[in-house]
Symmetry: C2
Subunit: 129 residues, 2 copies
Amino acid sequence: MDVDFQKGGGLVPAIIQDEQNGDVLMLGFMNAEALRETQRASEVMFFSRSRNKLWKKGETSGHVLRVREIRLDCDADALLVRVEAVGPGVCHEGYRSCFFRAIEAGGEARLVAERTFSPDKVYGQEKAR
Amino acid sequence: MDVDFQKGGGLVPAIIQDEQNGDVLMLGFMNAEALRETQRASEVMFFSRSRNKLWKKGETSGHVLRVREIRLDCDADALLVRVEAVGPGVCHEGYRSCFFRAIEAGGEARLVAERTFSPDKVYGQEKAR
């Protein structure tokens, strides 16, 4: 079963889901190399669109994502990676999930989660992830 | 809070999650118009990259996705849409979720779900969604 990297210009979206409770933690993109490396190491690696390079989740924070299962969708152009998330949260802003805000039709955003760690302590000044 | 459509060339990935049990049902893309229409109607509309046009989920099958909440990630470039999914499944291949296969490092795929409806009966010959 081949993953279709073509449609997204070499990248596929990879949804990261907590295997234990089903929470969606974040979304990143993978190219073929990131997926291979993720499968090899059983820890999630992404391709960063802004920095244009591979990026190991948790390389700064230690909050790595241990892969339990990788699912592929019907069109083979999106991945669902079910993980054990090491540490108090995956978000560089200090939340368990990057999806910590809800948006309303008017554009207002509202917090739907509480901070679980201090991003300054974990990431220092550089705010890498 | 503005959604960043720029980074993805006018599109953002939208993860569809069953609000009741946390299952990830599918992933689609939205442009600004699809998001506005989704918010207006409280039913999910995508932008189809292959057909290059707006696409109402469930327009053929009646399996619409009723929006309960829309979350935005920290970078404002991905959406998590929590829904009530009407009908036996969202996938045009007859499954509850489009992520019905797991992939192994060797490339083999393995079914992790069972069919919940007959795609031929629901979609007829056209296999639209």
